[in-house]
């Protein structure tokens, strides 16, 4: 049985539809990340699961039970808010107690759960403090503790790391991952940060404009994107996209002439327009004059440590290549690059859909 099921779920505000009939299954114990740019409907979807927004149409079930009309308090979910939403007039302990109060537990059990959560999250010293006396990272942990003590069926996270600085974000991200491994509770997690999604998720749901573009493991959405949106949204720097045309077994664009990778042989009609997608890591330096190599001028190099990013110009297109930093060319140099045929993606320029399958 799925922990959360969405069937043709629609959200409308007045006459404006913001979530267009999405279907999603979240399995028991799974860590599912809703990923997409702002305004894609991911937070709205999460809030519908929490019960903070009404479902306009379709069916939403939690643990096999239809919950469209069920109040948030009766859904068995716990939520960590983007801005933490700690009760400012209560101490850390009282914040957790307040979340436990509706469960009607005896005092010993309440205390046991608070101590356990405090132990796991390192809040022991902070139980008597008020939220105003805590740092951002500490508040974030209290918000998680408050969700944890309720031992819910489902954890909902709404961009929990977006208010933390970069270093803390990495650290708390690891903690959330560990916490999920330890508790095994189903998690639905919203973020616009693809690194968070890739590192934490069992399953990523990529959303855009109120539609689900792709559901898959991090490997699937990275290596086999369904369409150009997913391909360019996942991965940093994003995938290079080059409009081209299939002519006589070759993919041709200005300054570019590649053999069609063997996977696509026989699948492309002659004269078909395509968009070639290649990640920066799929461009490799080659000897001058190598077969199918493109020669390009380096505009900028960005040194990252082990790797360097080259901003290069091929015809009208600016591409980014990621190459080993050692021996990198200088701006203004000409380089020869080959496209690794095993990681070339082809998309339909009209629909954006992949031609890779």
């Amino acid at each position: 049985m799925s922990a959360i099921t969405l069937r043709s779920v629609v959200k409308r505000y007045g006459s404006v539809e913001v979530v267009h009939g999405i279907d999603l299954d979240v399995e028991e114990g799974e860590f599912v990340v809703l990923l997409g740019p702002s305004g894609c409907g991911k937070t709205t979807t999460l809030r519908m699961v929490a019960g903070l927004e009404d479902v306009s149409d379709g069916e939403l079930s939690i643990a096999g039970r239809r919950v469209n009309e069920v109040a948030p308090k009766d859904r068995g979910v716990a939520m960590v808010f983007q801005n933490y939403a700690l009760y400012p007039h209560m101490s850390v302990r009282q914040n957790m107690e307040f979340a436990l109060r509706p469960l009607g537990l005896d005092a010993a059990e309440v205390d046991r759960r608070i101590q356990e959560a405090a132990g796991i999250l390192g809040l022991g010293e902070l139980l008597a403090r008020k939220p105003a006396q805590l740092s951002g990272g500490q508040r974030q942990r209290v918000a998680m503790g408050r969700a944890m003590v309720r031992t819910p069926d489902v954890f909902l996270f709404d961009e929990p790391l977006s208010n933390l600085d970069a270093k803390l974000r990495t650290q708390v991200r690891l903690e959330i991952g560990k916490l999920h491994n330890r508790l095994g509770t189903t998690v639905l997690y919203v973020t616009h940060d693809q690194v968070e999604a890739m590192t934490l998720a069992d399953k990523i749901v990529v959303m855009q404009n109120g539609h689900i573009e792709q559901v898959g493991t991090p490997e699937q959405v990275y290596a086999h994107p369904n369409n150009m949106f997913v391909a360019s949204f996942i991965g940093s720097p994003s995938m290079n996209m080059i409009p081209a045309r299939h002519e006589g077994g070759r993919l041709r664009a200005e300054g570019l002439d590649l053999a069609v990778p063997s996977r696509f042989e026989g699948k492309l009609p002659e004269g078909q327009d395509v968009v070639i997608g290649i990640r920066p890591t799929g461009l490799q330096r080659a000897e001058p004059g190598a077969a199918d190599a493109v020669v390009a001028r380096v505009e900028v190099t960005e040194f990252l440590g082990n790797e360097a990013l080259l901003d290069i110009r091929v015809g009208d297109h600016e591409l980014i290549a990621e190459i080993p930093a050692a021996g990198r060319p200088a701006p203004g140099d000409e380089v020869s690059l080959t496209f690794d045929p095993s990681v070339i993606h082809l998309f339909d320029p009209q629909t954006g859909a992949t031609l890779s399958r």
């Binding site: 933490y84 009760y87 979340a99 509706p102 805590l134 309720r150």
Partner: protein, 274 residues
């Protein structure tokens, strides 16, 4: 801003001093006149040094049941304050949270009650309470004062509720709390300064009110403000007793405001949401 210079500090304190004199002089006059023997009451220049007497206070409580009038005033003021703050807060919460295109009109309609010139409704009130058998009862005044106090409370509290982050209520809802529990344990405590401000305004208005108290009460439910006036008769104005009564009337107001003052703090919601 930089640290104020010496000149600025002197100017500020001078202005404060003038304000203090303006506000405290009447109180001083009331207090000193209330213990001044009648024969020297109007001596010019005013007698600054004299043997204080408490005869006015004694007369106040023995010639007339002034204690009872004070109790009437307290009952009416506290009753109206409690009633107004309770219902005003609930109404304000609804106005603050319910999204409806006509909500602003409703809010303005409530405020417009406050714009009525009181004198215009004295006679209708009199007839209504006479018919209902409520003339000369504290309940009549509680009702009248609440109709003036509730609109004020609604508007004050709406502002405070608007500032309580919605995310806190959503968090409480997901944490398993229902509407009443959320209002009582999350929203209302965070709007406590608003409650204090509302209570002070309601109390002072009800405590000081004269017109309705004069028209709608007789000997039984008379309030202290009206009672003081009764020392002003056609043949004599008993200034000593009026001053003594006025000074007694001052005390509960001051005590009430000081009690509420500890809640008049800002920044209660700090640290809740980033």
């Amino acid at each position: 801003m930089n640290k104020p210079s010496m000149q600025q500090a002197i100017l500020v304190y001078a202005l404060l001093g003038i304000a203090l004199i303006v506000f405290l002089t009447p109180i001083y006059l009331i207090a000193s006149s209330s213990v001044k023997p009648s024969p020297i009451m109007f001596q010019r220049p005013p007698a600054m040094l004299f043997e204080p007497t408490f005869e006015h206070y004694r007369d106040l409580f023995t010639m007339r049941p002034f204690g009872k009038f004070i109790m009437n005033s307290l009952m009416v003021a506290l009753g109206s304050t409690a009633f107004s703050v309770f219902f005003g807060s609930i109404a304000a919460y609804a106005i603050s949270r319910i999204k409806h295109k006509r909500m602003n009109d409703i809010a303005f309609w409530i405020l417009s009650m406050r714009m009525f010139p009181p004198i215009a409704v004295v006679v209708p009130y009199y007839i209504i309470f006479k018919t209902a058998g409520l003339l000369d009862t504290p309940l009549a005044l509680i009702i009248v004062y609440s109709t003036a106090n509730i609109p004020l409370t609604v508007w004050l509290m709406k502002g405070f509720f608007d500032e309580v982050p919605r995310a806190l209520e959503e968090a409480a809802a997901v944490d398993g709390h229902g509407l009443i529990s959320i209002f009582w344990r999350v929203t209302l405590p965070l709007a406590a300064p608003g409650l204090a401000v509302s209570a002070v305004f309601c109390f002072i208005f009800s405590w000081n009110e004269f017109l309705f108290a004069l028209m709608l009460t007789g000997s039984e439910a008379q309030t202290a403000t009206v009672a003081v006036m009764s020392f002003w008769s056609s043949d004599a104005v008993q200034w000593g007793r009026i001053m003594a009564g006025s000074f007694v009337i001052l005390i509960p107001g001051v005590v009430f405001v000081l009690t509420c003052q500890r809640w008049l703090v800002r920044g209660l919601t700090m640290g809740s949401v980033k």
